[in-house]
Symmetry: C2
Subunit: 300 residues, 2 copies
């Protein structure tokens, strides 16, 4: 067996003396796997069931944490739509490999009772989240500053006083037409590389915590724009709000707090890569290259 | 139907006067789909069958173009291994969602007749490819300069006089153990986000031109390090050199030349996003966000 990265290696190794200075001294940084394994219980939080969606498909369950602090209208609306069973029986009708899986009501005509079909854009949020925003030390090409807030990869512009969620893999966002306020029901999930150029062009309002592999198994579209000829091949069985289910039917997930000391050290470790396997240490990190650790907790 | 990006839109739109100056004037840039559709025949090249691998799996064919100019020893060796049927019946035994699919001989003990089990590392190449290297105008965090050469996303250090291929999605590289010269048979393919921190830590020697969706359908590993308990679920039927097949049995692919005017304009378009759908234009691009267009050409 050959390894390509020692991601799970627990060996603490001596660092070369020539290691570049990082904001958190690399010499003190433990390897990522060790940081995660040894993170104290207080550095983890339970994903809030009332802001968690279960997207059930024949290929598996996709669990999405919603970002109520960033896009309250979009979060409230998709929960309302889920509760009126709007999505049940619909499909992922547009799937472009390496890009996005888009789901909802392709016809745009399915009746809606309580939710809205279109919402005002929430591309950015007028808040800097000082105190809970954990910035990355490195320069980013797409934004004045990047980092993490409430478990989500994010960016902000301190001069403009605004923040937004970034299009990293697993980003959960709302599709729209030319009108910026035209989105409301058709969501998409980034299934490929980061799509950072979409930042501030759509409302990102969540992140997949679990189930990306189920999305990768979807049929890709072969029609123009990646649309499927037979979208029923990618059926959405149903979408539910986790908190609406009895506790014993939920998938209990914990997320490492992104303003915790453990996560801050994890950033430094992903940036420097202290594992002895590395011969060319990057000493740089971008916001889509630090996964936010998530784990399933045993049911009681 | 709602769109999330007008990737196929052909509308040429007026640009705001405040658009930031890009190296190629954004005002003259056509939308990406138009550039690709209108690229003259001379801006395309046929993928060289003698440097193309077919990795056949029950889920579909994966077509890899090999980078002989960057890693001649690795390219020669994998062709030798393919020709002695070394990979036939082996498997992708390590698959980590959002990261890599690794294939080959997990046991490390399958007899080899002509190929080598381990090769000297070819992490970087002592050449700057002046003339054929198309640089990106923007600063990159992981390398002094990034761009494209011979159809591959790449980076270089002009001071050191070296170039290397970057870990963008679809990168084809050689796994290794702690010893930098220990890799030779176990290849991996980036199936998730860019893994740029791996640059210069392994030998990247190719790129998947077609078939990424087949890789995404592989079973993910649930054991430590993402290893599969039952690797036979991810069988490699066989690996062949395209040029060894009769012409009529090949999949004829064309790749847009990365030193062509069409590709240079495509970079500018991906950077500025002239389509009217965009309200926040990035005016920045990273090397893993410009896909190199590939198309199937009709058989004669």
């Amino acid at each position: 067996m050959k390894r390509i990265t020692p991601v799970l290696a627990l060996t603490l190794v001596a660092l070369p003396l020539c290691a570049a200075a990082a904001p958190q001294s690399p010499a003190k940084v433990r390897p990522p796997a060790q940081i995660i394994a040894e993170a104290p219980a207080t550095d983890w939080r339970r994903a809030d069931p009332d802001n968690t969606l279960y997207i059930d498909t024949p290929r598996g369950r996709v669990i999405v944490e919603l970002a109520a602090a960033f896009a309250p209208k979009h979060v409230a609306n998709i929960k309302a739509l889920a509760r009126e069973h709007f999505y049940d029986g619909l499909s992922f009708y547009r799937v472009v490999d390496g890009f996005v899986a888009q789901g909802g009501d392709e016809s745009g005509e399915k009746p809606i009772e309580h939710g809205a079909r279109a919402l005002p854009a929430e591309f950015t949020h007028k808040q800097l989240f000082d105190g809970t925003f954990t910035p990355l030390p490195d320069r980013d090409g797409y934004a004045p500053q990047t980092g993490f807030v409430h478990g989500f990869p994010a960016a902000r512009d301190p001069n403009a006083g605004i923040s937004w969620l970034t299009h990293c893999p697993a980003a959960f966002a709302m599709a729209r037409e030319l009108d910026v306020d035209s989105g409301g029901t058709e969501f998409y999930i980034v299934i490929g590389n980061a799509q950072r150029y979409l930042d501030r062009n759509t409302t990102v309002f969540g992140r997949v915590l679990d189930g990306m592999a189920a999305l990768q198994k979807l049929q890709r579209g072969n029609e123009a724009m990646g649309m499927l000829k037979h979208p029923e091949e990618n059926q959405i069985t149903r979408i539910q709000v986790a908190g609406d289910l009895p506790a014993e039917e939920r998938t209990p997930l914990e997320v490492l707090k992104t303003d915790s000391d453990s996560f801050k050290e994890l950033i430094a470790a992903r940036r420097h890569r202290p594992e002895s396997w590395f011969v060319a240490r990057p000493d740089y990190i971008d916001v889509c290259s630090v996964g936010v650790p998530t784990r399933q907790i045993p049911t009681e």
